[in-house]
């Protein structure tokens, strides 16, 4: 019960008509407006997730089994899918975090014209949303067989990189594509965090005889570390769950977990519904851990930066 209710119950003898003690009925009424929201979440978020959990332990004949979970760690296709998904997510999260941080640092503290910062953050907002099918097509036009960059390199050096064995339909190619929505997200989150670094801290460090290195090593970096790590986790999850970009980019060439789940949905390619559920459960599990890490790092980050 909120403050206002305590106030109402505290003065039951008041003369105003509204100052009546709260009955059980009105306490229940307090919950009523929240019912549609939670009912919706129950039906379309929690029950589907719970059903994935339950069905992960279901054998094809309907009985209980651990086989599906065991398969996650033993079937080579599954291990490879998880390995590939984890690799691409870790690589693009780290790459996006490092480059995004450098870019945020450049526009916030690099002494560039102020307009550039507004431009960069606005554009980052747009770029972080520009994912999916359209993004995949953009990179075909850039680095694909007849792509602009491919042709430039050919006309400049006479070398057709695609004949030299280069192709963008690889994990490296997909990582380059993912970076397009990864680092802008870092810029968006780090720019305000860098703003939170107070000038006085730098000055205090300088007064005590510290150099720029000391300032970053012992003051700024430790303060920023929780938000850096937290955002890197966010980027990781961002890449880990991505389906549209990967699908449009490579069809099913690259064996990623989301692609495998999508294929299982379109036709029972694993010939066992329980396996699809176990794959999905694995994703929820990894994302859940990410979320916990993110929340605890956010708490730490909030201590200094407000």
């Amino acid at each position: 019960m909120g403050l206002i209710d305590n106030k109402l119950t505290a003065q039951p003898k008041g003369d105003a008509p509204t100052a009546r003690p709260l009955t059980k009925k009105s306490a229940a009424l307090n919950w009523l407006p929240l019912a549609p929201f939670f009912l919706f979440a129950l039906l379309f978020l929690f029950l589907p997730s719970v059903s994935i959990f339950v069905r992960s332990f279901e054998a094809p004949d309907g009985g209980f089994t651990f086989d599906n979970i065991i398969a996650l760690f033993t079937v080579r296709d599954f291990i490879n899918a998880y390995k590939t998904s984890l690799t691409i997510s870790v690589v693009t999260a780290l790459g996006g975090a490092v480059f995004g941080f450098l870019l945020a640092h450049a526009v916030v503290l690099g002494g560039l014209p102020k307009g550039l910062r507004t431009f960069m953050t606005t554009f980052s907002g747009v770029a972080s949303y520009f994912a999916g099918v359209a993004l995949a097509f953009s990179f075909f036009a850039t680095m694909g067989i007849a792509g602009v960059v491919t042709r430039w390199i050919e006309s400049l050096s006479g070398v057709d990189i695609h004949q030299q064995g280069f192709t963008i339909y690889t994990i490296t190619g997909l990582s380059i594509v993912y970076m397009y929505f990864q680092f802008p997200l870092m810029v968006l989150i780090m720019a305000p965090a860098l703003d939170g670094l107070r000038r006085e801290w730098n000055e205090a460090c300088a007064n005590l005889g510290g150099t720029s290195w000391h300032y970053w090593r012992y003051i700024a970096f430790p303060i920023l570390l929780p938000s850096l790590l937290g955002t890197a986790i966010l980027l990781f999850g961002n890449a880990f769950g991505a389906y549209a970009t990967a699908y449009a980019f490579s069809g099913s060439f690259i064996n990623l977990v989301p692609i495998l789940i999508g294929a299982q949905m379109q036709g029972d390619v694993l010939f066992n519904p329980g396996l699809g559920n176990a794959l999905a459960l694995g994703m929820i599990f990894i994302m859940g851990i990410c979320m916990l890490g993110y929340i605890s790092l956010q708490r730490k980050a909030a201590r200094w930066l407000r």
Binding site: M1, G2, I4, D5, N30, W31, P33, L34, P36, F37, F44, L45, P48, S49, S51, I52, R55, F99, A106, V107, G110, L112, M120, T122, G125, A127, Y129, F130, A131, G132, V133, A134, A136, F137, S138, F139, F140, A141, A146, Y180, F181, L188, I189, P192, L234, N238, F240, G241, A242, T245, A248, P258, I261, M265, N277, A280, M283, I284, M287, C290
Partner: protein
């Protein structure tokens, strides 16, 4: 200072190249449909396909419906949480952040199994929702929750909900009047930014529409991409302008109020 400045410029230029090269390449590519000449032929082809309008129209419809449902769910809930149920705020926020934990492809997988005949009561499937757009719209609303809630929540924080509501109540206003004449006008900018973000997300969405077999712009683009050259890039440009338009508009409307927006794919 000088050297630091040079580094900042170098990083900035790399960033700008990364941002713009794919966009310029896409645009250039889309103009090359006729050999040795730059023309808008690919756009003409794209815009003369009747299926383009059909799928685009459907996406627009999904976006509008999603926005309406999302607003009806989020605004009263967020308002009530601010006015009477403060302690429930972390829980509501937790729910709105769930799309991060459960990726779209996992959610659609779970929903289609559960509501595609998987939920049985005494052996008979109940709540079979596949074949209706309910699952698609529910998925889109879930996707929109983090943005919509955050926008409305920030808006509500900026106004004094309690004083406004109590003032309205003591002047004899009913709940309908309070919501439509007091709260909504104060939240206009916050709501609009949630609306534009939701619009941008739904218009380009692929996962739900494709896996639930509903016509939409995303799957249509993918289909064209498998069939044709050059037209897909023309559609990419359209899609980018759409995203740029909605988010640019949102930032322009919300200028002054700093808002951090984050995407989840």
């Amino acid at each position: 200072m000088k050297i630091k400045n040079i580094w900042a410029w170098i990083i900035l230029i790399i960033g700008l190249v990364y941002f713009f090269l794919p966009l310029l390449a896409t645009f250039e590519f889309s103009l090359r449909m006729i050999k040795d000449r730059y023309t808008f032929e690919a756009y003409r082809v794209a815009f003369t396909d009747a299926k383009f309008y059909l799928n685009f129209g459907y996406s627009f419809l999904w976006a509008i419906l999603t926005i309406i449902i999302s607003l009806l769910l989020v605004v009263p809930t967020a308002y009530w949480v601010h006015w009477r149920m403060r302690k429930m705020r972390p829980w509501v926020e937790f729910v709105t952040l769930m799309p991060f934990v459960v990726p779209a492809v996992v959610l659609v997988f779970g929903m289609s199994r559960l509501y595609g005949g998987g939920l049985k009561l005494f052996g008979t499937p109940v709540l079979v929702l596949t074949g209706t757009p309910i699952l698609l719209l529910a998925g889109y609303v879930i996707l929109s929750l983090p943005y919509m809630f955050r926008a409305v929540d920030t808006g509500l924080r900026a106004i004094d909900v309690r004083t406004l509501t109590e003032a309205a109540l003591s002047l004899g206003a009913g709940w309908g009047t309070i919501l439509t004449k007091v709260i909504f006008p104060n939240l206009r900018i916050a709501i609009l930014s949630g609306v534009f973000l939701t619009f941008a997300i739904v218009m380009g969405e692929f996962t739900f529409a494709s896996l639930l077999y509903w016509p939409a712009f995303g799957p249509y683009m993918e289909e064209i991409g498998a069939m044709r050259a050059y037209t897909p890039q023309a559609l990419s440009v359209v899609s980018f302008l759409l995203t740029w338009g909605s988010i640019g508009l949102m930032q322009w409307i919300g200028r002054g109020s700093v808002q951090e927006v984050a995407a989840v794919h």
